[in-house]
Amino acid sequence: MNIQEVITALNLNVLTEKKDFSHIIPTCGYTSDLLSCVMAGAPHQAIWVTLQAHSNIVAVATLLEISAIIITEGAAPDPATIAKANEEGVIMLSSDKPSFYVIGKLWEMGLRSE
């Protein structure tokens, strides 16, 4: 499964620069809205599902080398956060659906927890 397939299957909005996502393969999934838990638990190259949309998620994703962030419940990061994500090469996607739904779909597609 690659990020492009995830975007298509879950009908996600691509918030950061559009590029070829088909070669980016997430290793597994992780969810939490508490950044320290993410720091402790999110594996390298995971997809991170969260409803946090403020700029520090970019710093966390950069440090952990997260493959993509999916922001749920339609939460919208501000333009500065999106700009920072583009600068750091962090992929930010969003969905109107709640986290539970997004994670359920990802699991259905074969993505697992580590």
Binding site: E17, K19, D20, H23, I24, D33, L34, L35, S36, C37, M39, A40, P43, H44, T50, Q52, H54, S55, N56, I57, V58, A59, V60, T62, L63, L64, E65, A80, E88, G89, E114
Partner: protein, 332 residues
């Protein structure tokens, strides 16, 4: 020197992921006149098709702008020549076969504009004009590919040189005990820049040749400490990282408010963060726990009302040492 090739192989994989977006960036940064062919071979409307054929063959080109009285009036391509050959009409002048319905581009435009023109038309080459509408060059898709590759190579080379130089720092500079000290001043409440210092430290370690695991552990520990300064300190604080070939010593200090009960602060899940900060996803009470998990030793000293000093050490095993070419094995 087999170690060096190991370092290089790791940096290539790092680079590969970045290059995708870098190509896109470059398409916006590179200007048409830096990648085009300058002073292209031209013909006049009166040039015979037969001479044009000879010209294409001898110069190994597949198209040429048609110039009359110093003005661009058309373009003649190999496709036009084929049509002319089919009609056995090589005696005719270029003016009979050239395309006059021209798409042109200005030299100062970014390459991305040319790519859009190529994508939306059937043209294989674009005449490049200066601001006075005079022909200064010709641009093909091949020019763009070459230009992008050159630019990428320069970029890549710069990062390689940086890493190579940095990774030999400790070997090249001789003393009884060498160390490199990095200092970062962190402002209280500066959530916008939260994570900047930890990212910079992580990059510095990678350039010095540290293993990805060591860089990641250090990055996480410093990130948590950096956020603590932003969230909890009275006047911000200082992060000081001392890098030595055998260890990384990190010192985080502030001048207040100090921790009332260190034992309680160390308990997983305990946090004094206020509601606003918690809404941002901080204050899980896991910061110090995370730091402890990532480092080999940790000493937390605090005087309530005075300030806090956190001392961390990450020890480098033989295989982790700087500049020795780390085996880029996959981290978790």
């Amino acid at each position: 020197m087999g170690d060096i090739s190991r370092v290089q192989r790791r940096t290539i994989t790092d680079q590969e992921a970045e290059n995708i977006t870098r190509v896109e960036e470059l398409a916006y940064e590179l200007k048409v006149d830096t990648v085009m062919t300058r002073d292209p071979i031209t013909v006049t409307p009166e040039t015979k098709m037969e001479d044009t054929l000879d010209l294409f063959r001898s110069k190994r080109i597949s198209g040429a702008p048609v110039i009359s009285h110093d003005e661009l009036i058309g373009i003649i391509s190999i496709e036009d020549l084929i049509l002319c050959l089919q009609k056995n009409d090589l005696d005719s002048p270029v003016s009979k076969y050239m395309s006059t319905n021209l798409l042109t581009i200005t030299g100062s435009e970014p390459v991305i504009e040319a790519l859009k023109l190529f994508a939306s038309s059937h043209f294989g080459r674009l005449p490049v004009l200066n601001s006075n509408k005079k022909l200064v060059g010709i641009l093909t898709k091949g020019n763009i590919t070459n230009g992008l590759l050159n630019a990428l190579q320069i970029d890549y080379h710069e990062e390689e040189v940086r890493r190579y130089r940095a990774s030999h720092l400790f070997e090249d500079i001789n003393s009884d005990r060498s160390s490199l000290i990095l200092r970062y001043n962190i402002k209280q409440g500066d959530f916008i820049h939260g994570g900047t210092a930890s990212s910079a430290i992580k990059l510095a370690l990678l350039r010095l040749g540290a293993s990805p695991q060591i860089a990641r552990r250090t990055g996480i520990a410093v990130y948590e400490a950096e956020m603590n300064l932003i969230i909890h300190s009275t006047n911000g604080g200082v992060i000081r990282v001392e890098i030595e070939p055998h260890q990384i010593s990190i010192n985080i200090s502030d001048d207040g408010p100090g921790i009332e009960d260190i034992e309680l602060a160390m308990r997983p899940g305990y946090s004094t963060a206020n509601e606003t900060v918690r809404e941002l996803g901080f204050g899980a009470g896991m910061g110090l726990v995370n730091i402890q998990r990532c480092v080999d030793s940790m000493r937390l000293e605090s005087v309530y009302g005075k300030g806090t000093n956190l001392k961390l050490k990450i020890l480098l095993q033989k295989e982790d040492k700087f500049g020795e070419g780390t085996p880029g094995n996959k981290e978790k």
